[in-house]
């Protein structure tokens, strides 16, 4: 019998009950909650007279709506304020642990989960948020769910799930200097497409993935959903285990060693069979820039905006024409000729301490260009912000003309005051370049933190390796 993939190990370890048709009741160890996708679920519980099954498995935090400036005065937008206070009230009523807006530990839900050791290797992790896949980087089975499923997990600690197919994405070889985890995942999505992973759980493997830090692996797994896969994961290695030493909610002392022994088993067996395998040569990956309105519309920084006329598939060509129109770009324009108006360094993809270090380093004593009206750095959590300030990164950013903000989702989806105006073009370290994502009519180019910082200084995209 062939061995098991990591996904199969994680899935099998959590099956409470399985129906004949393969629908399994899967036990959920960790449930992260934020203000946008939970109010209707709490309300559902209340209407049905149900209680959460196990509040100890839940951790809540407001992140999508919170302001990144002037927090002392609370939230000015009444609708956002109502949503955040609804979360506070629900957590109090149902006894759910929350890091409210004023807590130093508050931050983007997918940043604080691992940072606190709340999400752990071997756990099943869910959240009413598609970027829950981030937590797969630590060898967890983590995926986003809808609000009805949030309510289901609250009420039963389980989810109805069918096994996904397995896809191994192997990135071998050594990444070149200046090439980051973000470039790797953008290159993967460029290769397999935004539906390439639909129906699959992805395991990222190969020497280039192994060489990434845990935070880098999080950036990769974060964007699994942009490749269509609900879950993406990386096997546990010693880096994973060291990452969790002394994290507040992680096991401590002897219990840690016991957990670590189990965590070391969390990798695909050598003879495990994947339903599909895709390989990339890591040494050939260059810094990436997205040019269109879907994350698969991505090219190397030294490339050009592609030409729909050269696309054989008429549906695809039409999609490209729509994207060019929306983005206000001409086919065949060199990427480095594209001027930008704003820069956003943040989001659950790229707002961890290593991201901020990379961005700060790429500034190289320069200053934000005159044509860039706003360059903002939004740390992923209060603790990331505190750490960055200890290292003096805030000063580097401020001296270079960047704004240094409070943690939250911010301009990743523009639910708070941080947004693009119609027609504005942004170099963004977030994960989605959909139409209107960062503000109605706004134009998003996805890049790594170093590429975003270098673009802020140059006023247009530049190859960070030459900047």
């Amino acid at each position: 019998m062939a061995g098991k993939t990591l996904y199969e190990k994680l899935f099998d370890a959590h099956v409470v009950h399985e129906q004949d048709d393969g629908t399994a009741l899967l036990y959920i160890d960790r449930h992260l909650v934020h203000e946008v996708t939970s109010p209707q679920a709490f309300e559902g519980l209340r209407l049905a007279g149900r209680k959460p099954w196990r509040t100890g498995a839940m951790l809540a935090v407001p992140d999508h709506n919170v302001p990144t400036t002037n927090r002392a005065g609370g939230i000015t937008d009444p609708v956002s304020r109502e949503q955040v206070s609804t979360l506070d009230r629900n957590c109090q009523e149902f006894g759910v642990q929350e890091f409210p807006m004023a807590d130093l530990r508050q931050g983007i839900v997918h940043i604080i989960g691992p940072e606190e050791g709340f999400t752990l290797p071997g756990a099943t992790v869910v959240c009413g948020d598609s970027h829950t896949s981030t937590h797969g980087a630590i060898g967890a089975l983590a995926f986003g769910i809808g609000t009805s499923e949030v309510e289901h997990v609250m009420a039963t600690q389980t989810l109805l799930q069918k096994r996904a197919k397995t896809l191994q994405v192997r990135v071998d070889g050594e990444l070149g200097p200046g090439v980051t985890a973000k470039d790797v995942v953008l290159a993967i999505i460029g290769k397999i497409g935004t539906a390439g992973g639909t129906g699959y759980a992805i395991e990222f493997a190969g020497s280039a993935i192994e060489s990434l830090s845990i935070e880098g692996r999080m950036s990769v797994c974060n964007m699994s959903i942009e490749a269509g896969a609900r879950a993406g994961m990386v096997a546990v290695d010693e880096k994973t285990i060291e990452y969790f030493r002394d994290k507040p909610f992680a096991p401590q002392g002897e219990m840690f060693e016991r957990a670590a022994e189990y965590w070391r088993t969390l990798k695909s067996d050598p003879d495990a069979q994947f339903d599909k395998v895709v390989t990339l040569d890591g040494s050939k990956i260059e810094p990436q820039v997205s040019w269109g309105t879907s994350p698969e519309m991505v090219v190397p920084v030294n490339g050009q905006v592609p030409d729909p006329a050269a696309e054989a598939d008429p549906v695809k060509a039409e999609g490209m024409r729509n994207a060019l129109k929306y983005m206000g770009l001409e086919a065949n324009t060199p990427i480095s000729d594209i001027q930008i108006d704003k820069v956003f360094i943040g989001s659950c993809t790229n707002a961890r301490i290593e991201d901020l270090r990379a961005a700060a380093a790429a500034i190289k004593g320069g200053h934000v260009a005159d044509n860039v009206t706003l360059a903002m750095v939004v740390p992923g959590s209060g603790l990331v912000r505190e750490q960055a300030e200890k290292e003096g990164l805030d000063k580097v950013f401020l001296d270079a003309g960047f704004e240094w903000r409070e943690p939250g989702c911010s301009m990743c989806l523009a639910m708070n005051a941080d947004r693009l105006e119609p027609g504005e073009r942004c170099a963004s370290t977030s994960n989605r370049n959909f139409e209107g994502r960062q503000g109605q009519g706004g134009r998003t180019h996805l890049v790594s933190p170093a590429m975003a910082a270098a673009a802020a200084v140059a006023g247009h995209f530049v190859d960070v390796r030459q900047a």
Partner: protein
């Protein structure tokens, strides 16, 4: 949940692939703490010429005459037709609530994103995956005959066109059962409460660190 057995209705052709949930319901409307009222702002950026905010009277806004759902008879459609990878992106169930609140009962496309697909079933919206050629044939039929109605028969897993063409579709048997009966998932799962407790008892021995009282840890 509203049960789904058979349904007949007008088909609205939305000729786009990768329709993402940000497009189906833009973020500013996610600030609502309710499940209802998302219909008037479904596809907001495409549907209106002026920017929308929560709390507006959307009937007073300027509609984009080129957008299919603003055109007769598609403004009364209850079946949405689209290209591949429908519902990709954000997990927001608000996208499904926006479609059902608009009046849609089914979406037909060659493929769907996983989370959207799942969310649909929880709300009585039937996502039907047909072959690309079949979807293309329906697009052509609707172009030739706007206002064309399709009949969906879930128990028999078939979509019937007025010219007699039948398109069979696959659906997971458990999901079909829940949809046809309009069953509440949570109540069904709670019938297994003993098994969930037994699982927990066993796991507390195997992985006790996942069962610490989190409130007690880390002040």
């Amino acid at each position: 949940m509203q049960a789904f057995t058979t349904h007949k209705g007008i088909v609205a052709p939305l000729d786009r692939s990768n329709v993402d949930t940000d497009a189906i319901i833009p973020k500013q409307y996610l600030k609502s703490v309710k499940r209802t009222g998302f219909g008037p702002t479904a596809f907001d950026d495409w549907r209106y010429l002026d920017p929308g905010e929560p709390g507006m009277d959307h009937s007073q806004r300027r509609k984009n005459p080129d957008f299919v759902l603003n055109q007769e008879p598609f403004d009364r459609a209850s079946i949405l037709l689209a290209r591949e990878n429908f519902g990709c992106g954000s997990s927001r169930e608000h996208a499904v609530w926006a479609l059902t609140d608009f009046g849609f009962r089914a979406v037909i496309a060659p493929s769907f994103a996983d989370i959207f697909f799942n969310n649909s079933f929880k709300n009585g919206l039937l996502p039907i995956a047909l072959k690309e050629e079949e979807v293309d044939a329906i697009f052509k039929a609707v172009a030739a005959n706007p206002g064309l109605e399709l009949e969906i028969d879930l128990p028999n897993q078939v979509v019937k066109a007025p010219d007699g063409t039948e398109y069979g579709f696959e659906i997971d048997s458990f999901r079909k059962h829940c949809l046809v009966e309009g069953l509440d998932d949570i109540a069904l799962t709670l019938e297994h409460a003993d098994k969930i407790k037994a699982y927990e008892t066993a796991q507390m021995q195997k992985t006790p660190w996942l069962f610490n009282d989190l409130r007690g840890n880390a002040g």
